[in-house]
């Protein structure tokens, strides 16, 4: 076989694989979309792969109102904003101290962060549950904010990777001008860590948005639904209306997909920096 033929075949194989992979990813989403757009009577007449004859947005309207999804979005937004502000503040502080100074027990602290990362959050809920209750935070959004601040430690490693790339000469020249360490943190480190903060904020937003178990456990009141629990509650009452459940699923899934398509660069950087330690 000539080299050229071999290259052509290989190129074709690559594209066929990518297209096949793309179809496997998109097929479930496509099926969800065309069926969410079918009225009940239409879905009785048509097979699950047949296109609706006319687009019926009724399911989306009913899902939005019936699931109180507007409220769920607001609750989620509130928790995301508080957690992200806290995470970025605490994360940059820890990274500054660990990344720039030597002090006793630094290794222990770093090791604690590493170990905690491998403790599956759900397992410790058996014990965390009591702590949250004794703090009087059960069934409030602050239980979740506290939990997200305390257990999402991957961000520390993302920040540490970034801070090593900020030249120490910047700190030193600021010190020659008499800047305090706090001033250096506030005026040099924090602003220069912005790309890392963007990454942390996006990853944290996605993680909180997609988390089901913590809100399910700590915020059982129906008025405190976040997007995941609000969607989860469709199971049961709406079981006879699969098209409605699909509409609700798309309402919940699509905003983050759009956010992701806009901000891919930060997400990929964060995924890699969070998983791979230098």
């Amino acid at each position: 076989m000539s080299l050229r033929l071999q290259n052509t075949l290989l190129g074709t194989l690559k594209y066929l694989s990518l297209i096949a992979g793309g179809l496997v990813v998109l097929f479930p989403i496509w099926v969800a979309l065309i069926n969410a757009l079918k009225s009940n009577s239409a879905s009785n007449r048509l097979g699950p792969l047949q296109l609706p004859i006319h687009l019926d947005w009724h399911n989306f309207v009913v899902a939005w109102a019936g699931g109180d999804l507007g409220h769920a979005f607001l609750n989620t937004l509130y928790i995301v904003v508080l957690s992200v502000i806290g995470n970025v503040t605490l994360g940059t502080m820890v990274a500054y101290v660990i990344g720039r100074f030597d002090f006793p027990f630094k290794g222990v602290i770093l090791a604690a962060y590493l170990v905690v990362q491998f403790i599956p959050t759900i397992t410790t809920q058996v014990a965390v549950f009591g702590i949250i209750r004794s703090l009087g935070l059960f069934d409030t959004p602050y239980a979740l904010v506290l939990l997200y601040l305390g257990t999402n430690v991957v961000q520390i490693f993302i920040y540490l990777q970034f801070i090593h790339r900020i030249p120490r000469s910047l700190d030193e020249s600021a010190m020659l001008e008499g800047a305090s360490y706090f001033r250096i943190y506030r005026s040099i480190i924090f602003p220069l860590l912005m790309p890392a903060s963007a990454t942390v904020a996006i990853l944290q937003t996605i993680a909180i948005y997609n988390d089901l178990y913590s809100p399910y456990l700590y915020m059982p009141s129906s008025s405190l639904g976040v997007v995941s629990t609000a969607l989860f509650r469709f199971r049961g009452p709406y079981n006879a209306h699969p098209n409605l459940i699909l509409a609700a699923s798309l309402i919940i899934a699509i905003p983050v997909v759009l956010l992701y398509l806009l901000l891919q660069r930060f997400i990929f950087a964060g995924i890699v920096n969070g998983a791979v330690r230098e």
């Binding site: 989403i29 178990y213 699923s249």
Partner: protein, 297 residues
Amino acid sequence: MSRQRFSLSYKAQKAVLIAAFLILPIVLLATLSLYPALKLIFYSFTSWNGLSPRYPWVGLANYKAIFSNPLLFSSFGHNFAYLVGGLIQNVVALYFALILNSKIRGRNLFRAVLFMPFVMNAVAVVFIFRFLYGYQGALDALLQGLGLKALEHDWLGNLSLVNWSLAFVSLWEYFGFNMVIYLAALQSVPHELFEAAELDGAGRLQTLWHITLPNIRSIVQINLLLTISGAIEAFNIPFIMTNGSPPTATFLTNTVNVAFVFNNFGLASAMAIVLLIIVFVVLILQRWLVGIGRDAV
């Protein structure tokens, strides 16, 4: 003289700053991660019901129960489906990363599509697949349309199949994550290596086996570690799909149900400890294998 004064004040500043910046993060880490982990050990020797102020000591009874009650320990069998799915997931992820790492048109578009499931809400993903897998549902309709009627199944109703159906959802949702990590690793392999291999007349498979894979060995190990611990901790998909009912229960859905449905926090804590030990054994094994790998190179 003034320099002296400054360096002293920086020294004092440093102590204050370290204390001030670390106190809150460490308190949070300790109360929400480390202390609960220790608490678990204590609970695991009691029959605490989660509410009572009494913690009746039962010794090792909870641990014995885990290994003697077939319903509890055998749920690891269901985790096995996620483990196999996870290994396939890594092969698929590496395959697509290799393709995306070559000069190819539409690279960013394909990467964006393949990673997309990872950012989708887990509840939404499971609901969509529940529809897809439904009895005579969309998947069966697709198979029929492709002339593969023989492959039609009751994907969720068939008890020997259901965990594999769920493991596929996991693969679908998470392979993009592994792919992005593999892709970053491949991009950091020096180009000269491939050029040298080409000059030596190495074939594609030879290059993959002798140049590419050894250079991303540590990334392969990280991905495998994440995959294996993910399989041991499989929770979301069976929990959302079936509330962790017995045919699909994993060890972790059982742990959670034992605690929060059956109020047996003592037994659940013992299960959590067993799970943690397994995860850390895997972690240590991985570190050890990395060590061996380094020596061998």
